[in-house]
C-alpha cells in the first residue's frame, strides 16, 4: 500500500530533455516530449527518483492537492494461487517485499494475478519500488518468474534482470567459502522454514 502525497514538477526552463528521468522512473510516469520532460499525473507515485537524478536539478517534488492510495487487496484473488506462486518463489505471502511502502508479497502476487506482468505495472498498482527505489526489484522479478511470466524490459534502465538467489549457489562454491563465514546451507534452511510458515501465529502456533 502506498499513500501518494506528492508529485514531480518539471521546471521547463531548466529541463534539457536528457531523458534520464524517463529511463529511471519505476512507474513510467516520465516521458520526454519535444525535448521536455512531462509528468503523467496518474502514474507519478512521488518516489523522487527523477528529482534526485536530474543533472540540471530541474525537477522538484510538490504536494498534491488530493493525496491518494494505491493498493491491491489480496482478498480479490484466489488465496491458493497466491500460496502456490509464493511457494515457487520460496517466499512467505506475509513477508515484506518493500520496506518503505510496507507492501507484502501477497499484495505483489495479487497484482500479478490481476494482470501486472512487468515490474513497472506492479509498481503502478502496489507502490513497491517507489520508496528507496533500490531494494525491492528482485522480489518483483522472482514472483513474476514464479508466475511463469517473463517481463519485457522497458527502454530505460529501470532494471536489468533477475539475479542469483541462495538456491543457485553450487555445492562447489559452498564448500569453498563455508569456512569463511558464509552460512549458505543454514540460511537456506532458515529461509525455507520462513517461506513455509503458515498464518497461524495468532494462536502462537509457529512451525
Amino acid at each position: 500500500m502506498r499513500l501518494v502525497k506528492m508529485i514531480a514538477q518539471v521546471d521547463m526552463d531548466g529541463c534539457i530533455g536528457c531523458k534520464i528521468c524517463e529511463r529511471i522512473c519505476p512507474t513510467l510516469a516520465m516521458e520526454v516530449v519535444e525535448g521536455k520532460a512531462k509528468v503523467n499525473f496518474e502514474l507519478c507515485l512521488s518516489c523522487g527518483n527523477c528529482q534526485q537524478r536530474c543533472p540540471e536539478e530541474a525537477i522538484k517534488m510538490v504536494k498534491r492537492e488530493k493525496p491518494f492510495t494505491v493498493f491491491v487487496d489480496p482478498e480479490q484473488v484466489d488465496k491458493k494461487e497466491i500460496e502456490r506462486i509464493c511457494a515457487r518463489a520460496k517466499m512467505n505471502p506475509e513477508q515484506l517485499a518493500c520496506y518503505c511502502t510496507e507492501t507484502r508479497v501477497k499484495e505483489v502476487v495479487a497484482a500479478i494475478l490481476l494482470g501486472a506482468d512487468t515490474p513497472e505495472k506492479i509498481s503502478q498498482k502496489t507502490g513497491i519500488r517507489t520508496g528507496c527505489k533500490v531494494e525491492c526489484i528482485q522480489p518483483a522479478l522472482r514472483l513474476l518468474e514464479a508466475a511463469d511470466i517473463k517481463p519485457e524490459r522497458p527502454e530505460g534502465y529501470q532494471w536489468y534482470g533477475r539475479t542469483p538467489t541462495i538456491w543457485d549457489i553450487t555445492d562447489e562454491i559452498k564448500e569453498l567459502y563455508s569456512g569463511r563465514g558464509f552460512y549458505f546451507d543454514a540460511d537456506i534452511e532458515l529461509l525455507e522454514k520462513i517461506a513455509r510458515q503458515k498464518e497461524n501465529h495468532e494462536e502462537g502456533k509457529n512451525e
Binding site: 512521488s46 520496506y99 518503505c100 533500490v134 528482485q138 552460512y183 540460511d187 532458515l190
Partner: protein, 484 residues
C-alpha cells in the same frame, strides 16, 4: 567524571532539517557526562585523528602506505577511477576521508604520471549525498572537475560472476583502472556480519539496484555479503582493479591507513581489528539494562553513532551480532521483512529489538533511509514539527511518524522520556569522538561492566568470531610480517 564531548555539529543537507531548527543538543544537559572509551578499554589503539595535525598525519600515512603498493600496471596515459562511498564522509566530520581521496590521487599521479584520475563516489539511499560532500570538501576542484556522485539507479553494466550475472554501475568501471578507497569502520554489522567487510561496496555503493536487492532479498542474512565477493572476484573487476587504500578505524577514531594490492589480505586484517576493537564496545553496550536513547547526529536514523557503534547495532545489542550462529539480528532487513502484517515474527526465534531501549528521543537525524521499523518497535519522540514533516514527506519513511509522537522542544521530549520510562540512564548517539556522552547513572554502569566484558571478549568471543570467519590470527600475523 568528564565534561561532555562535543557532538558532531548539524550539517546542511537536503536530507535533514535546516541546522537552525536544531536549537539544543542533548549533550548540553548538566546530567550528561562523557565516558572516554580509553577509560573503559585502555588497550584500544592510539589514534592519528582526531588530534593535533590530524589531517597531516592522515596524508603522511597515505603516502607511506602507498609506497609499498604496486602501481606498475597503470600507464601514464591510463584513466583511473578512485571509487569512494558516502560512509567515509560520516567519519570524523568527513575531512579525513576527503584527505585520503586527495592523497591517493596525488600519489597515483606521482608514481604513474597519469593525470586522468577521476573520483566516483557512490551512495547509500540518498542519491545526492556524495554530491553534497564533493562540494563541501572541494573535491571537484581537486579532481579538476572529474568528481562525480553515482547512484544505484544510474546506468549499469552486467558483470559475470561465479554465481551468475550481477550488475555494477557503468560509471564506476568506465576507466582503465579502479582504486577502492574505503574505511574499516564496522558500521552495519547487522548486514555484513563482519564477513568480507572491506569488499562490501562492490555490492553496494558501486552496484546497481538489481545487485543491491540481491544482497537484501536473495542470498540470506549470512550469505548476503557473498554478493560483494562474487563481483569483486569476477574476471571483469579483477581486470580493472589496481589496489585498495582505507582509513583504518577504531571506535576512538582513525588509527592509520592501510593499503594493499590484495584486497582479501587487507580484509583479513580489518576483520581482526574490527572484531577486537568494535566487538568490545558493542558487547559492553549490550550490558545496558535500561536507557533512553538520544539520536543527535547528521545521518539517517540507523546510522547515528556513539562510541563508534551505530544506533542500528544498539537496537541489536541484546544479541551478539558478530556471532554467526545467530541467524537473524534483532534488526536487519531480512528480520524486518519477516514480521507479518500483525507485527509478529514469522520465525519464532527472532530476537526482539533491544528491550533495554525504553524510549528514543529523536532530536536530530536525517530521513532518506527506511526507518519505520525503529519507531514501530520502540517508543519514539520526534523533536519539532519541521523534523516530523521531513519524515512525513520522505518516500522512504511513509510510516515513521505514524508510530512516533512529536514534542515541541528537546526539553519537553526529555521531560516526557524521564517520566514515561522511569529511568535516568541516557545514551546519546551524537558522534562525539573518543567517548560516549551518557548520563551519570549510565557512566557508572559502563565503568562497572567494562572489565568483565574485556575478559569475555578477549578470552571467549574474539577467538570464536575469528574461527567462524576462518581466520587464524597467528598465521595472519606471520603473513603480515612477511609483507612488511
Amino acid at each position: 567524571m568528564n565534561k561532555v564531548l562535543n557532538p558532531i555539529p548539524p550539517r546542511r543537507s537536503q536530507y535533514g532539517v535546516d541546522p537552525g531548527f536544531v536549537k539544543k543538543r542533548m549533550a548540553e544537559y548538566p546530567e550528561m557526562k562523557a565516558i572516554y572509551l580509553r577509560e573503559l578499554f585502555p588497550e584500544l589503539p592510539q589514534v592519528i585523528f582526531p588530534g593535533e595535525n590530524g589531517l597531516d598525519k592522515v596524508r603522511q600515512a597515505v603516502h607511506k602506505e602507498l609506497e609499498k603498493v604496486d602501481m606498475s600496471m597503470i600507464g601514464p596515459e591510463d584513466s583511473v577511477n578512485i571509487c569512494a562511498s558516502h560512509h567515509g564522509f560520516t567519519l570524523g566530520g568527513g575531512e579525513p576521508y576527503a584527505e585520503l581521496l586527495k592523497a591517493i590521487k596525488d600519489v597515483i599521479e606521482e608514481k604513474t604520471g597519469t593525470k586522468n584520475i577521476r573520483l566516483r563516489a557512490g551512495v547509500g539511499l540518498r542519491f545526492r549525498e556524495t554530491e553534497e560532500y564533493i562540494k563541501s570538501f572541494g573535491l571537484d576542484e581537486y579532481f579538476d572537475g572529474q568528481a562525480k556522485g553515482v547512484a544505484p539507479v544510474d546506468e549499469g553494466i552486467p558483470i559475470e560472476t561465479e554465481i551468475g550475472t550481477l550488475y555494477g554501475l557503468k560509471s564506476i568501471y568506465d576507466a582503465d583502472w579502479i582504486v577502492h578507497a574505503h574505511n574499516s569502520d564496522v558500521r552495519e554489522v547487522h548486514f555484513h556480519r563482519q564477513v568480507d567487510r572491506a569488499v562490501k561496496p562492490f555490492a553496494m555503493s558501486y552496484a546497481r539496484i538489481d545487485t543491491r536487492s540481491t544482497y537484501h532479498h536473495n542470498l540470506g542474512p549470512r550469505g548476503a555479503n557473498f554478493t560483494a565477493r562474487a563481483i569483486f572476484s569476477s574476471d571483469f573487476v579483477q581486470s580493472k582493479f589496481a589496489f585498495t587504500a582505507i582509513l583504518e578505524m577504531s571506535p576512538l577514531g582513525i588509527i592509520g591507513v592501510d593499503a594493499d594490492n590484495d584486497l582479501y589480505s587487507l580484509n583479513d586484517r580489518i576483520t581482526v581489528s574490527g572484531c577486537q576493537n568494535y566487538g568490545k564496545v558493542m558487547t559492553l553496550l549490550g550490558e545496558i539494562d535500561e536507557c533512553i536513547v538520544g539520536l543527535d547526529f547528521p545521518c539517517p536514523v540507523p546510522y547515528v553513532f556513539a562510541g563508534g557503534v551505530i544506533y542500528a547495532n544498539f537496537v541489536g545489542a541484546n544479541v551478539d551480532l558478530f556471532d554467526l550462529d545467530n541467524p537473524l539480528p534483532p534488526y536487519t532487513w531480512y528480520t524486518e521483512a519477516f514480521y507479518d502484517s500483525k507485527g509478529k515474527p514469522l520465525f519464532k526465534e527472532t530476537p526482539p529489538p533491544n528491550p533495554a531501549i525504553k524510549m528514543v528521543v529523536h532530536n536530530y537525524a536525517w530521513a532518506g533511509y527506511p526507518s519505520a521499523f525503529f519507531s514501530e518497535h520502540i517508543p519514539t519522540i520526534v523533536v519539532g514539527e519541521e523534523q516530523a514533516n521531513l519524515f512525513r514527506e520522505d518516500p522512504q519513511n511513509l510510516s515513521y511518524m505514524k508510530h512516533s509522537v512529536i514534542a515541541e522542544s528537546l526539553d519537553a521530549a526529555m521531560a516526557f522520556a524521564y517520566r514515561g520510562t522511569g529511568t535516568d540512564k541516557v545514551i546519546v548517539f551524537d558522534g562525539a569522538a573518543g567517548g560516549i556522552n551518557v548520563s551519570k547513572s549510565l557512566y557508572e554502569l559502563l565503568k562497572v561492566k567494562a572489565p568483565e566484558v574485556k575478559t569475555r571478549v578477549d578470552e571467549k568471543l574474539f577467538p570464536k568470531w575469528l574461527k567462524q570467519r576462518g581466520i587464524n590470527p597467528e598465521e595472519l600475523n606471520k603473513k603480515n610480517e612477511k609483507c612488511r
